[in-house]
Amino acid sequence: MATVAQARRTRRSWLSRIDQRHVIVYGTALVLAVTVVVPLAVMVIISLRPTEAIPPITGTDFTLDNYRTTFADPVTYRLLWNTALYALGSMAVGLVLGVLMSWFVGRTNLPFRNGVYPMALASFAMPGVVTAFGWIVLGRPRTGILNTIIRGMTGSDANTGPLNVFTLEGMILVTGVALAGSMFIFLAPYFQRMDPALEEAATTSGAGRLGTLRHVSIPLLFPGILTVAVYYVVIMVQIFEFPLAIGVTAGVPVLSVRVFLLTQPEFGLINYGLAATFAMIAMFIGLVLLGVYLWVTRQAERYQVITGKGYRPNRMDLGFWKWPAAVFVFGIFGIKIILPLLALIWASLLLYFQPLSMDALSLVSLDNYRSVFGSERIRNSLLNTVLLVTLAPTLSILLAALVAWASTRIKLRGVRMLEVLAFMPLAIPGIVMGLAMLVTLIRTPIWGSVWIIIIGHTIGFLPFGVRLLSAAMLQIGRELEEAGSTSGATPLTIFRVVMLPLVLPAFLNGWLWVFAHSIRDFTYPLLFSTPDNAVLATQIWELWTTPDIPKGSALSVLLVVFLMAFVFVIRKTATRFFGGTVT
């Protein structure tokens, strides 16, 4: 027995004194700093360089000219106004539909409600460009398939309308409906996991059904719904596929499209300085919204009524109205997935596009599919695609898991910064992030390889993974990890053997989400596009803009069908392994 005075005070070597937790935190911070902060710093510099300067950045003359030009131009304010209208409008449409769907699925006896979730996931599989194109084919004034059908049914002899997708309203509606499915995925848990006892308590206190709804259910759900709403405003400020495909003809330019076009020599004066300046504006808006989002999330978590426990919610009997409700819910998916997909399939069966008619039916053939399968260019892009969609989700979710773990579990000063860093890509439009990486890496060998896309996706999709895994990890009792420590396991072993398996369902869901987004994303592959790093998405875009709409449609149909099948199979397999915990 040693007294304190006699105890061995062995100072271990510096190597063995390195705390793994520090290595994890600082290592992750370093990775994030290099991949997030450096490109953004370059972006700031470029926005301060003379307009005509071409990256990579050389020279030391700085000026505020870009900002002066931007803020002196009335078009800028129109852009901001359009962006606000579009982002808020489409978010509102999506939110109303999403909340209704979540309520029907979570709290009523809607028929076939178990089919809604897989449908919503499948809707992830539709690239935005493809949906947008599908909608142009469906809703353009003269030959839009829907317009032709409606005119035929009403016997109208007008040759345009009644729908016109090339308007701000059209753009908002199409985007809003497209959002509803994915918003449902975020909203549904709030409805499904709310403890019915909270409502029952109100009912037993004498409140009527409406009173309960007004005074208990809605206030309880409000913070959750608000976080989703703010999250989607952030996303909508950045989205550019719909505004690019529809908004140019509609005469509704928005911020994200402006940033994109400023880097496209095809369309206008290529101007990295101005692009960077607009990117800074977009980023500023994004950061403000991100601040709001993080604040709202914190408030929402403060009175967490949603627990991890599985409740059996008491479902409202809709009576006869359950059938119209089902038509409504599945109709949204019809509009989001099935109609555009049908439009695409139709386009893919023709050698040149023709409106739906009996005459055109005679032109149908599978030639486009034959040439897609026969295309060496597309075959070559498959290897890159496989590399991208296996590595990017894996790296992104692993990094997200580390960040989530560090920020929820490791008590170190500055850990909070890690989370903010990881959330930055959410605030920064993909187009801005991509541009920043492009100008940063243009002198390195990474430029032009598929790795630059992998890095872009890993970082770009990080916030979603962090959000998902933080939420999952917060539900894991702290003692489960501490038991690992007192059993003598190192922090990394605990992460690997205890934490990761416990959050595996969330991990898998996140992986699938990034996978689906990575395979269909155009932003990064296009910005970084060279012949050597072509991926499937680039091929679709190229066919689309070549333009070879028939072959583009054929390839898109194949991609969407493959993605749906893949998501379906993974979920089925995962459900078998985790007993229904993968949702």
Partner: protein, 367 residues
């Protein structure tokens, strides 16, 4: 075996810093069962977690065996996973994604004391036998009852043969009956294995029945350390007296302090009582006189030779199975007494109380 020296730990909270542990020291001898007892928030769990390496103290020293594992002055802070300890958590912390076997095998497979596969199997089986769960080895952990999970947690702690076993309120989630069995079982296991044990609880029955030594903690400090008998019979403060069992506290004033050698006399208003008056309390000082209910005898009429007698009116009696808990109103004081035989009094009866002088202790009071 374990020495904790001037340990301090402060938390940051929304309301500012909270001093959870304010400089405590204690030593556990090899093979002894040592309990930190106190109400929630007294700093006992924080102390344990500092020893386990789950919290980093602000200052002080912690020595396990011959090795300092924490010393602020010497700049030593051995990570928890490198300390020769094992711990059982209040929530058991059984990993739900593993089987019983994998849970128990974890310290040997992934921990400090890694051993070959065959050895793992042998030792896990041995540990499971110790807690009588050998038949459940392949069962997934979530399919166990609370008591079984508890045993798995104990087996996991024992399997690595730690030098020091840390138990953080391990019995508080069990129902009363199971708790009693586990108490006995845990104690006999640690005795058989000659394990040095640090036990944290707020339950005085657990503390009194299991420990070799008890340290009573309050507001981050150890207020008394001693054997269970010492703590129960000679509490250093009214707080301790109250915490380790039921106690009557009577306000009074010292008439004669007995100079610390013989019993003194305290006037409690309803009469003078003979009791032990600790040193340092002078005549006329305000005191609290403590006596446990089981040392109060209630009787009607006169009883020859009785000392320290107060008169009162019988108030109530609750039957609690093995005895009756009675309340007698004496002036403005309600005194509790425990009667082992059937109560023959009716409410409102005039009764006398004899407060056994050997068990009356006076504490300094702030008036």
């Amino acid at each position: 075996m374990l020495t904790v020296e001037k340990l301090r730990k402060t938390y940051e909270s929304d309301q500012g810093p909270v001093e959870a542990v304010r400089g405590i020291s204690f030593t556990i001898e090899e093979g002894r069962f040592y309990t930190l007892l106190g109400p929630s928030g007294c700093g006992k769990s924080t102390t344990l977690r500092c020893v386990a390496g789950l919290e980093r103290p602000d200052s002080g020293e912690i020595v396990i065996g011959e090795d300092a594992v924490y010393s602020r002055d010497a700049g030593i802070d051995v990570p928890g996973n490198k300390r020769d300890i094992a711990m059982v958590f209040q929530s058991y912390a059984i990993w739900p994604h593993m089987t019983v076997f994998d849970n128990v095998a974890f310290p040997l497979a992934h921990g400090r004391a890694r051993v070959p596969k065959a050895e793992v199997r042998r030792r896990v089986t041995e540990a499971l036998e110790m807690v009588q769960l050998e038949s459940m080895a392949t069962r997934p952990a979530p399919y166990l009852s609370g008591g079984q999970q508890q045993r798995v947690a104990v087996a996991r702690a024992l399997v690595s043969r730690p030098r020091l076993l840390l138990l953080d309120e391990p019995l508080s989630n069990l129902d009363a009956r199971l708790r009693e069995d586990m108490r006995r079982e845990l104690r006999s296991l640690t005795m058989r294995l000659n394990l040095t044990t640090l036990y944290v609880t707020h339950d005085q029955v657990e503390a009194l029945s299991m420990s070799d030594r008890i340290a009573v903690m309050r507001q981050g400090l150890i207020v008394q350390e001693g054997s269970p008998v010492e703590i129960y019979a000679h509490p250093a403060e009214p707080f301790i007296a109250q915490f380790v069992g039921k106690v009557n506290l009577l306000k009074g004033r010292v008439v004669n302090n007995g100079n610390g050698t013989e019993p003194g006399l305290v006037d409690v208003g309803a009469g003078g009582l003979t009791c032990f008056v600790p040193e340092g309390i002078g005549a006329n000082d305000p005191v609290l006189l403590s006596i446990r209910p089981e040392h109060v005898v209630v009787y009607a009429g006169e009883r020859p030779g009785a000392t320290n007698v107060l008169s009162g009116r019988f108030q109530s009696a609750f039957y609690v199975g093995d005895s009756w808990e009675c309340v007698v109103q004496v002036g403005d004081m309600a005194l509790q007494a425990r009667l082992n035989e059937a109560v023959t009094f009716s409410i409102g009866d005039e009764v006398n109380l004899e407060l056994a002088p050997d068990h009356c202790v006076a504490f300094r009071s702030e008036e």
